[in-house]
């Protein structure tokens, strides 16, 4: 096990796959000569050259479509978005083409492409730069969505995503790129897409959270432990397909569920998980499923406002206590 930053784990995953398969290439804004806006691709231009590490103009719709066409022709593009906020100008390519072409061709074509970049709020960037897009893309059949919370999962799941024959949206976080963690140094480390990870076991309540929010849930679990409340914490790791069974199995033991989700609440990930669990565990729930989400207003800039806007440890602890009628 080596200790790596999240960005290094992503870089290692891409590098290993590019070494393994010459059809894999990386394309995006500032990925090559600038070494990556967030330095995820640092050094990759030097290693692989300009044919495979490609700087693009600011044309997300154009280069997303370009990647889709290249994927249909048998290449395996990794398209980096500086952040997922900027995919709103490429929304049609992802939703109408990447997601639907296989089905509309009756299975004649496949679209093995990875779209990746930072997702969610990243401090005081204001409303245009703070979107959690999984609430939108997870509604779309034909897409797969992965959102890891730590470097180890990031490496194993990005390698899986690059090898996957379907379009995979890979959600990272600017705030986590510097996060360090142990990463398996197994020869060829690939994790399965669609399997949750039980991070912590506790009998009183189940907490589910992905990506950045996983850390909020873990911190809340620590705080709750101090209050004598033991929480199970589940990191779904993948949003589509969603490992609902892992959550249901846990809720059948704890009888309580709180979902921490940075998405805007209406129709977000928490809503879906909550809906499925009330249906799957109706007889087991001792309290309503609770959610902790971003507030239902555009993300504000001011420090105190954005902090209040984000799901917090305090919000999570309070939600858990509600499920315990405390």
């Amino acid at each position: 096990m080596a200790e790596l930053q999240f960005r290094e784990a992503l870089r290692d995953a891409m590098t290993e796959e590019m070494v393994r398969d010459e059809n894999v290439f990386l394309m995006g804004e500032e990925v090559a000569e600038y070494d990556g806006a967030y330095k995820v691709s640092q050094g990759m231009l030097a290693q692989f050259g300009p044919k495979r590490i490609i700087d693009t103009p600011i044309s997300e719709n154009g280069f997303s479509g370009l990647g889709i066409g290249a994927a249909i022709m048998g290449l395996r593009p990794i398209v980096e978005f500086m952040t997922w906020n900027f995919t709103f100008v490429a929304f049609d390519q992802i939703v109408s083409n990447a997601a639907k072409i296989r089905s509309m061709s009756g299975g004649q074509l496949k679209v093995p492409i990875v779209f990746r970049g930072g997702n969610g709020a990243a401090g005081q960037l204001g409303a245009t730069h703070s979107n959690s897009v999984e609430a939108l893309y997870s509604n779309i059949p034909g897409l797969k969505i992965v959102a890891p919370s730590n470097p180890d999962d990031a490496k194993g799941l990005l390698k899986a995503a690059i090898r996957d024959d379907d379009p995979v949206l890979f959600l990272e976080s600017e705030l986590m790129f510097g996060l360090k963690g142990e990463v398996s140094d197994a020869e060829d480390y690939v994790l399965p897409i669609g399997k949750a990870r039980i991070a912590r076991e506790g009998d009183d309540v189940t907490l589910v959270a992905h990506s950045k929010m996983y850390w909020v849930a873990m911190e809340a679990a620590e705080e709750l432990a101090k209050q004598g409340i033991e929480a199970t914490v589940i990191d779904p790791r993948t949003i589509r397909p969603y490992d609902i069974d892992a959550v249901a199995d846990s809720v059948k033991k704890t009888n309580r569920l709180v979902i921490v989700d940075e998405c805007q609440p209406f129709g977000g990930i928490a809503a879906e998980v909550g809906f499925q669990i009330q249906r799957a565990c109706f007889g087991h729930l001792d309290a309503p499923v609770e959610r902790v989400t971003a507030k239902d207003v555009p993300a504000p800039y001011a420090k105190n406002l954005i902090e209040a806007w984000m799901p917090s440890v305090a919000d999570t602890v309070a939600a858990v206590r509600r499920t315990l009628y405390m």
Binding site: R7, F25, E33, D35, A37, Y38, K39, Q42, K51, P57, S59, N61, G62, F63, S64, G65, L66, G67, I68, G69, A70, A71, I72, M73, G74, L75, V89, D92, Q93, S96, N97, I101, R102, S103, M104, S105, G106, G107, Q108, L109, P112, G118, A122, G123, Q124, L125, P141, G142, D165, D166, E174, L175, F177, G178, I193, G194, R240, P241, Y242, Q276
Partner: protein
């Protein structure tokens, strides 16, 4: 200003001190490079090596209004000999155009009988474009187009059976009944759709050309779109990418004069679409799309120029093919936007009639032989209708297939 800028800082040292770079540096001395970064910026703060890379000269480019580079393929007086085409080949091209025409005439009829539903956009009148482009390029040069796709699919070799069955929504259809008229696909013949969102296929087509170059196949991709689609941002982004990366791709606008009910004049600041390649430094090509030989010659010529050598070189072209749609936009178009006179005048240029005329005049075939050919084509289309009608509905379970290449299951219930 009259004063040369260079002199400024020297003549006015204090001014310089107050306004120029040096004081910028002072200000920057306090900048966060030296201070702990707030979390959302930390990511960009990884130490970057100090030496500067060889940067391109950044001086703004002086305007050098060069004359746009435009090539016109029209009234060249080609004969099949001058193009190196055998009589048999021209007859084969004629048959292919006729197949498209008869296929769609029957499809329209079947739509009327409600064997076909949804939208049905007929290509009738534009057949010289599909056939000329296909014969002028290689069978494995990737083609992508919009929803008016029957013609190109059949030109590329999709079987009328599979095409008609797709229109009928049957298991035997090219997409197993999942795509319908707007979403024809035939991977075996390198025909990549059939796309319903106007302009959405253009960047995808550029990506196909990108792949040809990346893999060094020597192929050139063709992205067809309509005169209305050129007003989508997707065209602009895709064209610039194609030019920037020297991608072997032909961006082909089939200018049939209308987008639904909107003429080119009513949709453009300047109705001359051939100007569209200029900002990207791309050569524009204008082609008479009612003349099979012009289209064939144009595509043959530029496709070979566009091809990359291995993974080097390559050159995109912007191609305006001037054609015309004889039918309504879809099956329910009152066509108030054009006069009957205009339509009739255009029908006098019928690309199929012109080829037939040519074959007869040049003694390449007799009227009788061509009429027999027409009967043969009609019979082929009739068989396609029978095949489609006999083909079973897709099994309900097939709805959950072909969504994913791996873990192909409904994810949510």
């Amino acid at each position: 200003m009259a004063t040369p800028s260079k002199s400024a800082s020297s003549h006015a040292p204090k001014a310089a001190a107050s306004g120029d770079g040096s004081s910028n540096e002072d200000a920057l001395a306090h900048a966060p490079g030296q201070t702990p970064a707030p979390p959302d910026e930390r990511a960009e703060r990884v130490d970057a090596p100090d030496e500067t890379i060889e940067a391109p000269d950044a001086r703004p480019v002086a305007p050098s209004p060069t004359m746009p580079d435009i090539r016109v393929f029209r009234d060249s007086g080609h004969t099949h000999e001058s193009l190196g085409l055998s009589g048999e080949t021209v007859v084969a091209m004629y048959r292919n155009m006729l197949l498209q025409r008869r296929f769609e005439e029957r499809a329209a009829q079947m739509y009327g009988r409600q064997k076909i539903a949804g939208f049905l956009h007929l290509y009738i009148g534009q057949e010289a474009v599909s056939t000329g482009a296909v014969w002028g390029t290689r069978p494995d040069d990737p083609i992508i187009t919009a929803y008016r796709d029957h013609g190109l699919a059949l030109a590329r070799g999709m079987s009328p059976d599979a095409g008609m069955a797709e229109l009928f929504g049957r298991e035997g259809g090219s997409s197993r009944g999942k795509g319908g008229s707007m979403h024809f696909f035939d991977a075996e013949h390198h025909f990549y759709g059939g796309h319903g969102i106007v302009g959405g296929q253009i960047p995808v087509g550029v990506g196909m050309g990108f792949a040809c170059k990346y893999k060094g196949t020597g192929g050139v991709a063709m992205a067809f779109f309509g005169d209305g689609a050129i007003n989508q941002g997707a065209f602009h982004e895709a064209a610039n990418l194609a030019a920037l990366y020297d991608i072997p791709v032909l961006l082909v606008v089939e200018n049939n004069a209308y987008a639904m009910g909107t003429s080119v004049e009513r949709s453009r600041g300047d109705a001359d679409l051939s100007k569209s390649g200029y900002p990207y430094g791309m050569t524009s090509v204008v082609v008479d799309g009612m003349d099979l030989f012009e289209v064939y010659h144009a595509f043959k010529t530029i496709a070979d120029e566009a091809r990359a050598e291995g993974d080097q070189g390559g050159k995109p072209f912007f191609v305006e093919v001037q054609t015309y749609r004889y039918r309504g936009h879809s099956m329910s178009d009152p066509q108030k936007y054009r006069t009957k006179e205009e339509l009739e005048a255009k029908k006098d240029e019928d690309p199929i009639v012109r080829v037939k005329q040519y074959l007869v005049e040049h003694g390449l075939a007799t009227i009788e032989a061509l009429d027999a050919l027409d009967d043969e084509v009609k019979a082929e289309v009739n068989r396609a209708v029978e095949f489609a009608d006999a083909s079973p509905e897709p099994p309900l379970a097939s709805m959950y297939e072909d969504v994913y290449a791996t873990n192909d299951v409904p994810y949510t219930v």
